[in-house]
């Protein structure tokens, strides 16, 4: 759990920076003062750097070619690929909003990127009904992405119901880890 919180904290930290600075829009200026707009590379994931805001006037936005070609890897950096849900809940919790935004940003910056949102439930109850409940979770994430401007054609929401638990076990800690939606980039 500590590990989870730690990585969660890092995600939030990174995402917070990302939302503060529109890196795709960062202009590159020459010393004469006349503005030269550099169009952002459409397949280029937004690089995230805590200090970039202060350096924008004197530095160039760094490009990582490896990241730009590997769309199936999803967003670069430490962006979480799993979102957890409360019991009997299909609402994306606010603590995961930053994660969703990081994925939305990546998908918008990379229109050829495609992601499957895979909904899961804990083991209690029927298989088909759980499939429908997992679908509700995947759909909730899809709608969050859609609200952030991601194209429907880039996203497919599917469900595994209770068929693919992340962890085995019949206690609440196992259930909590299994009630989830995962980002799977194709």
């Amino acid at each position: 759990m500590k590990k989870l919180l730690l990585s969660l904290g890092m995600v939030l930290l990174l995402a917070a920076c990302a939302s503060g600075v529109k890196l795709n829009d960062v202009p590159v200026e020459d010393k004469s003062g006349s503005k030269v707009s550099v169009a952002p590379d459409p397949v280029m994931p937004a690089p995230v750097s805590a200090s970039s805001a202060n350096e924008a006037k004197s530095t160039v936005v760094p490009v990582d070619s490896a990241a730009s070609t590997n769309l199936s890897a999803g967003p670069a950096g430490n962006v979480a690929k799993v979102i957890f849900f409360d019991y009997d809940s299909y609402v994306v919790k606010s603590e995961f909003q930053a994660t969703i935004e990081a994925h939305a940003q990546f998908l918008k910056a990379n229109p050829r990127a495609k992601v499957s949102l895979e909904g899961h439930t804990d083991e209690r109850g029927g298989r088909e009904y759980n499939l429908a409940l997992g679908q509700k979770r995947a759909d909730a994430v899809r709608q969050s992405l859609s609200l952030l401007g991601v194209q429907e054609s880039q996203v497919e929401s599917v469900s595994f119901g209770k068929e693919k638990p992340a962890v085995q076990g019949a206690d609440e800690s196992a259930f909590a880890k299994n009630r989830r939606a995962e980002f799977f980039y194709r």
């Binding site: 109850g125 029927g126 298989r127 088909e128 429908a132 469900s159 068929e163």
Partner: protein, 424 residues
Amino acid sequence: MTSFFSSLGMVLLAFACAMPAHADFRVEISGVGVTQIPIAMANFRGEDNAPQKITQIVAADLERSGQFRSTPAGMVIDEVSRPDFGPIRQKPADALLTGSISRMADGRFDVRFRLWDAVKGEDMGGQSYVVVPADLRLVSHRIADQVYEKLTGDKGIFSTRIAYITKQGPKHLLWVADADGENPQAALTSQEPIISPSWSPSGNELAYVSFESRKPVVYVHDIASGKRRVLANFKGSNSAPAWSPDGKSLAITLSRDGGSQLFLINSKGGDPKRLTQSNGIDTEPVFSSDGSAIYFVSDRGGSPQIYRTPAMGGPVQRVTFTGNYNISPSLSPDGRWLAFISRVGGAYKLHVMDLISDKVVALTDTNADERPTFAPNGKLIMYSTQSQGREALMTTTLDGKIRARLAGQNSNMREPHWGPFLNP
């Protein structure tokens, strides 16, 4: 299982003595007022040297139905001689089954039986079958069907087949087996989950949901040839296939238009037609046996309940009202009974509802029952449950008094579906 035993005042392991060879098989009789036909079984002549113990298979079938109590006849007799009924009546037994099995020159077996009314001392008829060794179990089930029909008036279901899923380590398998769980044959092996097998009305095909392409896709699988085709692979999830009684179409759940909703699709494939419109979940459709209505699960009222709608589309009617979690409907062939799973205090239990009186009864005292399916004669319900840390298949009578655990493999057995009557 421990709680099962301790919670019952009296439990009879009726079969422990009669079937020592089948350690897995068990019939549990609970409660009082169980009326059963006592039948005496004479070991078929030649059975000791035959590949299958015919009388044991027949006896197990009859016991599992809940309507029979079998005892060894204690006499050596075959189908050709007239028995002395005195000792049979004293057992007491109302009927006597006799027969023989002999190997023919070409390797096939000639199996014969005769059933007697021990009270009246009358011949109730018999039959002979000539089969290859692999069909001796099937013949045994056919004999059980004949005995069952002659003595109860209802058609027997012992020669029908069931489908179910097992999980063995990372492997998921779809099985077709005899109605007693024996003689399993794998129809599909996959590294990914398989759920919701559903027999076509002909008994030739199975529809099911497979996750082999990293999403739920509905397939139709021809059992004899092993050929299969994708029935529904639309954007989103495809699941919960249920055949119409004429076999021409299936009701399925698709999320392609947003949310899990019911559609009708031709069994050959094609463009699905939307059947329900709700903002919530609509899933787990089943047809009534006349094809006029579809029962399904919806959370449109806030909690999952069972609803009914005309198969051609039309007004939706709520069916279940007790409890706040009712799923997995299965209808008896005569349309009288609705079996489903209801959550009661955190436990998932098989219930049956009399659709005439609307009375609901819980049938089990296990905690994780799933996916009930009616026998084609409507007299038994099969379901899966957790037993001794494993998923197992059970049958129960509609009053819950006679339950039997099906012969198992060393794996988790789940998702049963009972196939139709087959023409011999």
